[in-house]
């Protein structure tokens, strides 16, 4: 397949097809959960984990297609001024049910509920949803989104109260800043984070460029994902 347009069409068609199938699976799972969740809490829990995995496959596909298009220079961001509250809600609302059944509390706190920012809302929603589905697997019982202004830009953080990022992962981010190099050493998590980093970097204002950062909370040691956008 030497023609890049052909390859792109094939990938896009495949991704769309799989995504459709996944959303069907997700929908069916949700209906089953609705009908059994009172009688069979254990099975409900398992089904909710399945829904999460379906969500992860979905995210991975989006990343793969997105990175491919970035590579072939056919990736087209669409910037617009949007309400950050809406973007966070759009990224989280479809996981509400799963979070509840897993006993995870999701907090959303905005320094100012009226913050509007120039971003590609679809891409940023994807970044936040991606980080959320990952954090659900590692947190104990809390996830907190915060949005506030910092260093002349917009900062969105997601903090969990799990064990925190392993040192290796935090290094992965600091070792390859802006190099556009992908390391698969750390398994699948690398791809998602790499994609998030690329999305952040697409956001520019003057000389400033967006970035992501992985740290652990200084007090309770939970993982803190930071997205900064100029």
């Amino acid at each position: 397949m030497s023609n890049p347009v052909d390859m792109h069409t094939i990938m896009a068609a495949t991704v769309h097809d799989v995504k459709n199938a996944l959303s069907l699976i997700d929908n069916e799972l949700r209906e089953v959960i609705d009908s059994i969740h009172e009688r069979e809490p254990d099975s409900t829990l398992k089904l909710n984990r399945l829904r999460l995995e379906a969500g992860r496959i979905n995210n991975d596909l989006v990343h793969m297609l997105g990175l491919y298009r970035m590579n072939t220079d056919t990736f087209r961001p669409d910037f617009d001024e949007v309400l950050i509250e809406d973007v966070i809600h759009d990224a989280t609302s479809r996981y509400q049910q799963t979070l509840e059944s897993l006993g995870i509390h999701l907090g959303i706190e905005l320094e100012d509920p009226d913050i509007a920012w120039v971003i590609d809302p679809v891409l940023i929603e994807g970044v936040l949803a991606n980080i959320l589905t990952n954090s659900i697997r590692y947190t104990k019982d809390r996830l907190d989104f915060r949005a506030f202004m910092a260093d002349g830009g917009l900062c969105i953080t997601l903090t969990d109260n799990g064990e925190g990022y392993p040192a290796k992962m935090m290094n992965f981010m600091s070792e390859t800043p802006n190099q556009g190099e992908l390391s698969f050493q750390n398994g699948s998590t690398g791809l998602g984070l790499y994609f998030c980093q690329q999305i952040a970097q697409l956001h520019r204002q003057g000389d400033a460029e967006g970035y992501i950062k992985l740290t652990n909370h200084p007090e309770h040691g939970g993982a803190v994902f930071t997205l900064w956008l100029p």
């Binding site: 459709n20 961001p77 669409d78 309400l83 809406d86 809600h89 759009d90 609302s93 509400q96 120039v118």
Partner: protein
């Protein structure tokens, strides 16, 4: 608060699947919405929208065989059937979201990807109703098209409701545009852009640049904007407009073709592109675009006989410059089937009747024996002269052109003469008629003739009458009726004979050729030159014939 807010709101749910409607209605009910009307197709939905006012419309994009959601929205907005106070939400299959978002001129207020969970619906519902109440005065002003009120309402939202500031800013600029307050709009946009880069504000500022004639600045700025925001199709439209104004029609065509790759379903853009392609001599692209328009318009408010006529006209132009017989046959076959559809779908339009008769004769389908007879075309010419009032300008030119092409020059000239009288107030149309009569030939041939003629004029200036005459004669082969070329040929021939020797046969030829201009109307700008040269030829001819009675 949200529950109370939604209690008395009226919803309309449009989806072609009853089980989908049932499930969404169930969700809405459990969120406290009790007034939910349903529609299963475009016709039902349109009826509901015209009969009642809704607070929120949830419309599935794909409605089966009926018009799709965006076609409904376009029609309702254009005809003023949908209040701006109604929140219109497009429901799309998740994967088609990009497609729908990029492709539409008439933007819905929101999109919802399906399937959606109850939590998502609740979340959005709060958002829609909050926005509807916060922006009430703006939307009322939009409904009334009251732009001073719109400006005032938008200003107020900007100052008091930071949440909707960005949205109100756009409406404010829109209000200023409608009131012609360009300087104020420019200042306002510049102040926004000084704070931060906003793609929409950049586009609007360049729109003002174009209005003020700052074409170079607009061209530069729009190119940068497109580089940064390649999905912003309106920027391509504006850039193409600039490129047409600075006389770069090929570049304008290229720009629009890029916009069409991103958003192919816009009929207005397709039409501008087709016109440009046609002017640029790219008849393949023009025909393709006109065909696309016919298929996009199918079943929508845009459907009309015009679309078919455009394709047929463009195909005919394309056929004139084709050598490939197989391709010619295929195009002819396509055209024949389009012509049949045109005749079937628009039986009561007098213009269409004359137009399609002429095209039947032109396409000369072997199965349509009547149309291949010369008498048939003569009757078309006759009918056209009798019904000039029914005949649109483009169709009239088509008929004249086809008459010339089929060798009925006398009938064509007669029709042109009467059309010229009938439309004498319309200078532009008369000009096109004159041009057609002078050069009833293909654009390719026209272009070639002009090129050769220009070369001839250069040689003529250097007094090389021999070479010049040869080139003018060459040009006449491509454009046998063009006044300028005819007169150049005759004038150059006369001077050549002055340099060398006078030949009766050459004078005969000159007389023949100059007589081709018998049709020239007295107000034609070449008329005086024509009569003076003609008289010279006649005088010389008589003199030589007298001297050389061979």
């Amino acid at each position: 608060m949200e529950l109370n807010q939604s209690l008395n709101k009226k919803f309309l749910l449009i989806d072609d699947f009853s089980n989908v409607r049932k499930s969404v209605k169930g969700m809405l009910n459990s969120l406290g919405v009790s007034h939910v009307s349903e529609a299963s197709n475009g016709t039902e939905a349109t009826k509901s929208v015209r009969d009642q006012t809704f607070d929120v419309i949830l419309c599935d994009y794909n409605l089966g065989k009926s018009k799709n959601g965006s076609q409904l929205l376009e029609e309702w907005r254009t005809r003023g059937w949908l209040s701006y106070q109604t929140v219109f939400v497009m429901i799309t299959a998740e994967t088609s979201r990009d497609f729908v978002m990029g492709a539409l001129e008439f933007q819905p207020d929101d999109y919802l990807a399906k399937p959606f969970a109850m939590d998502t619906l609740q979340n959005r519902l709060d958002r829609w109703l909050d926005r509807q109440s916060a922006l009430g005065p703006i939307n009322q002003a939009l409904d009334r098209k009251d732009y001073p009120a719109l400006a005032k309402a938008a200003r107020e939202v900007m100052e008091t409701k930071p949440r909707y500031r960005g949205w109100a800013q756009r409406k404010y600029v829109e209000a200023l545009f409608h009131q012609g307050q360009m300087t104020e709009a420019a200042h306002f946009l510049q102040a926004l852009l000084d704070k931060r880069d906003l793609p929409w504000a950049r586009l609007e500022r360049h729109r003002i640049d174009v209005q003020e004639g700052k074409l170079e600045a607009a061209e530069r700025g729009l190119k940068t904007l497109i580089m940064l925001q390649p999905n912003m199709v309106e920027a391509y439209d504006l850039l193409a407009d600039v490129q047409m104004q600075i006389k770069q029609p090929e570049k304008a065509q290229e720009t629009l073709s890029q916009a069409l790759v991103r958003s192919p379903r816009n009929i207005a853009r397709q039409r501008v592109f087709a016109g440009l392609a046609s002017d640029n001599g790219d008849h393949v692209a023009a025909t393709r675009a006109y065909k696309e328009i016919v298929s996009l318009a199918d079943g929508t408010m845009h459907e009309s006989s015009r679309g078919y006529k455009d394709v047929l006209r463009s195909t005919r132009t394309q056929l004139q410059s084709l050598d490939d017989d197989a391709l010619k046959r295929r195009l002819q076959k396509d055209a024949q089937s389009l012509l049949k559809k045109l005749i079937k779908q628009y039986p009561d339009e007098p213009d269409t009747e004359l137009f399609s008769k002429a095209y039947r004769a032109y396409l000369a389908d072997a199965g349509d024996a009547e149309s291949t007879d010369r008498v048939f075309l003569e009757s078309v010419a006759e009918a056209a002269r009798e019904h000039m009032g029914d005949l649109g300008e483009d169709s009239a030119l088509d008929i004249v052109d086809i008459l010339y092409e089929k060798g009925l020059s006398k009938e064509a000239d007669a029709l042109v003469e009467e059309l010229r009288q009938y439309h004498k107030e319309s200078g532009n149309f008369v000009k096109r008629l004159n041009q057609l009569q002078a050069e009833p030939i293909t654009q390719e041939a026209r272009r070639h003739a002009h090129k050769v003629n220009t070369e001839g004029i250069e040689l003529y200036k250097h007094k090389d009458y021999q070479a010049a005459t040869k080139l003018f004669e060459d040009a006449l082969k491509f454009s046998p009726r063009h006044p300028g070329i005819i007169l150049n040929f005759v004038q150059s021939s006369l001077l050549l004979m002055g340099q060398t020797r006078v030949s009766l046969s050459q004078l005969d030829r000159c007389l023949d050729i100059v007589n081709r201009l018998n049709y020239l109307p007295a107000d034609h700008y070449q008329y005086e030159r024509y009569t003076s040269i003609r008289d010279k030829v006649i005088a010389l001819h008589a003199k030589v014939k007298h001297e050389q009675p061979s």
